[in-house]
């Protein structure tokens, strides 16, 4: 149960929107949804999932968290028009108002200003993040350990990255890196930044998937969603036995 009951008579519930589950489903991304779902279930928070793909309409007023995974270049091209025309603008509007969002890899790239291909063509993005992506020659692949100040001074984020696009963040205050690389490449392999955060919207290159092994980050998303919906978002702590062991086994490799 939530430590401070929000209301005694009403059941606490959250609804997650999974965008393009049939196209953006690479690298264990669905583990993020499993993690959010279980962590709610263990706390007796009702958790429902709705999906929206090509041609589907979304009413963002019923949505508490959004998840977008990664996909191949080919699959991203398939959904791009639909996203740009139908779901993207409403999604940007809702995130401006604090809707928590987690976008991994391909999803993250689509939410930047543009994606520039090897040939120099620019594919415009949604512009939610003050960021842009350029196709690189080599893929950036491997385990990642990074510091995530958002969660506390000594909290680490672990995951696995696999991307050829290099993402750069603008200098504006509105979009900052989610984390600072300790081991691995991150956004572009140069500036030590990993991911981006703007309000409660997060983009990241971390697969793994990111949430099960970073339970504090999963709980941050849930807390933000509860705060937005109920005004309060304190979560009951969980034992996190295997979460911490799996997390530490990666951290230990790089220390």
């Amino acid at each position: 149960m939530i430590a401070t009951p929000l209301t005694t008579e009403k059941k606490v519930s959250l609804q997650l929107l999974h965008l393009y589950p049939d196209l953006l489903n690479l690298y264990g991304d669905r583990g993020n949804i499993i993690a959010l779902s279980r962590r709610c279930q263990w706390r007796h928070i009702e958790f429902t999932i709705v999906q929206a793909s090509l041609g589907d309409k979304v009413d963002f007023s019923t949505i508490d968290i959004v998840f977008m995974g990664g996909g191949s270049d080919r699959e991203q091209t398939l959904l791009f028009q639909d996203f740009k025309a139908y779901k993207g603008p409403a999604l940007v509007e809702a995130t401006e108002e604090g809707l928590p969002l987690l976008a991994v890899c391909g999803g993250y790239q689509l939410l930047g200003k543009y994606y520039k291909t090897q040939e120099g063509d620019e594919m415009p993005g949604l512009g939610l993040f003050d960021a842009w992506t350029e196709a690189g020659k080599n893929r950036l692949i491997g385990n990642v350990v990074a510091r995530i100040p958002l969660l506390g001074p000594n909290i680490t984020l672990v995951g696995f990255e696999n991307h050829s696009g290099k993402t750069y963040l603008g200098s504006s205050e509105t979009t900052v890196p989610l984390a600072q690389i300790i081991a691995g490449h991150g956004n572009n392999g140069q500036d030590k930044g990993e991911g981006a955060i703007y309000k409660n919207a997060v983009g990241t290159y971390l697969h793994g998937p990111i949430l099960p092994k970073n339970p504090a980050f999963a709980d941050w998303l849930l807390t933000k969603a509860l705060e937005r919906k109920y005004g309060k978002g304190q979560l009951e702590p969980l034992p996190d036995l295997w979460e911490q062991k799996a997390h530490q086994s990666v951290v230990k490799r790089f220390s």
């Binding site: 690479l26 690298y27 583990g31 696995f160």
Partner: protein, 467 residues
């Protein structure tokens, strides 16, 4: 043909490397080939060109080892001698090692047929060096994406190498996998398709691990009438007209018999055939079907096909039965990608008795560095058999990640045990397995090699390079 001095030197050094490796207790399936190729880069092509009936190449994500071993069993019954990378080392150096081993000290290959299992990424260089008479493609699933990048790229890579084959080379394709069948579109050489017509197994819903719901040719959604597993099934594209090709080698009837295996009937260009397979798992029916398709291309007799497959026993960690004494059963089953893993779980769930589980996950280069796939596999279905699970252990370099995965799959976190050492994990779980219980050991590739060494030492399994 007289081999060049350079080839002979390469060959002899390779043979010495094989002997030394075995002597010190390693499988040594790659190093000798690597050494040989350094000295004589052309050695594989010159050895392979001596095969009297040429070579058949087997590639695809899952089922390469089993399909090529089943084909080898059939061909041996047909009286052919073989050069075959049996130990499953399927990169160019491992394949060269198999040829070094098969050649005489005078540099002659005496065998009739080559059966070569090859990693998808190695297909281009292999088909260039060994001009195969036929290439079998089993299926495409996500596997080691850290190495291949994206599945689309793997499919494209294989497609390009198939286009460069000699014009008379046959390609043998799984009609039920739209990713594989798409390789046949616009292919100029001869094609043989195989597939399952029977609808007694499978279902109308798509599984989590399906790789695509979209047509590879036009990008619009595919329509399915029937699924077997993953994206395998009966499909067509209403938009561009791409559809499941009618297979020439096709299964018309199937009966699954749990751990006892299965029996099925099929139609081939040579006539009707019934097979009893003692190897469990629905996916092994596809492997047998692929092997039959290749054998039918060789004009092999039906009795050789039957005898070869009926005598076939799985080994090398493909639902391999281990001898751990009377009244206790143990199976070793490689898992390395979501679809393969789902099929192993589906097979073990058919056993209704008490069972124990040991899952060993590593992330060495040969396993794939990325273990995200654990979250795409359907470990949730284990929750339904939780009461039968006497113990659940994990091990290996990423055993803690596996324990985490199982706890999110709904298995009680306290019931899960992590044992860091593979040696200790195997010894203690075998020890704990009581009469009437079945132990399932599910390792990734390098964990399988480690498990084999441990099992040999404990007296439960032969040396893997001798199988």
């Amino acid at each position: 043909m007289f081999p060049s001095p350079r080839l002979l030197t390469a060959l002899w050094l390779g043979k010495v490397a094989i002997t030394v490796n075995r002597h010190i207790g390693h499988g040594g399936t790659s190093l000798p080939g690597m050494v040989g190729r350094k000295i004589a880069p052309q050695m594989l092509s010159s050895l392979a060109s001596q095969l009297k009936k040429g070579a058949i190449v087997v590639t695809g994500t899952n089922g390469k080892t089993t399909t090529s071993k089943m084909l080898a069993a059939i061909m041996e019954k047909a009286g052919l001698t073989l050069t075959h990378n049996r130990a499953g080392a399927n990169l160019i150096s491992g394949i060269t090692t198999a040829f070094i081993q098969s050649a005489s000290v005078g540099g002659q290959i005496g065998s009739d047929l080559g059966i070569i299992e090859v990693d998808e990424a190695t297909v281009p260089s292999l088909t260039e060096e060994v001009k195969p008479r036929a290439v079998v493609v089993t299926n495409f699933f996500r596997d080691q994406l850290d190495r291949f990048g994206e599945l689309d790229k793997t499919v494209e890579l294989v497609k390009k190498s198939l286009q460069k084959l000699p014009p008379q080379s046959l390609i043998i394709l799984n009609a039920d996998d739209p990713l594989v069948a798409s390789l046949g579109v616009k292919h100029r050489g001869p094609i043989l398709y195989y597939g399952i017509e029977s609808r007694s197994y499978g279902n109308k819903d798509m599984s989590q691990s399906a790789e695509t719901r979209f047509c590879r040719l036009c990008g619009k959604p595919l329509q399915y009438e029937w699924y077997y597993f993953g994206q395998l099934g009966h499909y067509h594209c209403p938009h561009c007209g791409f559809q499941r090709p009618k297979p020439q080698v096709r299964i018309t009837d199937i009966e699954l018999k749990g751990e006892e295996g299965s029996s099925f009937s099929l139609e081939t260009p040579q006539g009707l055939l019934s097979i009893t397979l003692s190897t469990p798992g629905f996916y092994n029916i596809y492997n047998a079907l692929a092997a039959i398709a290749a054998a039918s291309h060789m004009k092999t007799t039906q009795s050789s096909m039957q005898m070869g497959l009926e005598g076939y026993r799985t080994n090398f960690g493909r639902m391999e039965r281990l001898d751990i004494g009377a009244e206790r059963k143990a199976f070793l089953a490689l898992i390395k990608n979501p679809t393969g893993c789902d099929e192993v779980i589906r097979t073990l769930r058919q056993n209704e008795g008490p069972k124990r589980l040991l899952i060993m996950i590593q992330d060495n280069a040969a396993d794939g560095r990325d273990i995200s796939w654990l979250w795409d596999a359907d470990f949730e279905s284990l929750e339904q058999i939780a009461p039968q699970l006497q113990s659940i252990a994990t091990s290996g370099l990423r055993g803690e990640d596996m324990a985490l995965r199982l706890s999110y799959a709904g298995l009680p976190a306290q019931k899960i045990q992590f044992i860091a050492s593979i040696d200790e994990a195997i010894a203690s779980t075998i020890e704990a397995t009581g009469p009437g219980e079945t132990l399932y050991i599910l390792p990734t590739y390098t964990a399988l090699l480690a498990a084999k060494t441990t099992l040999t030492r404990l007296g439960y399994s032969p040396k893997y390079w001798e199988e």
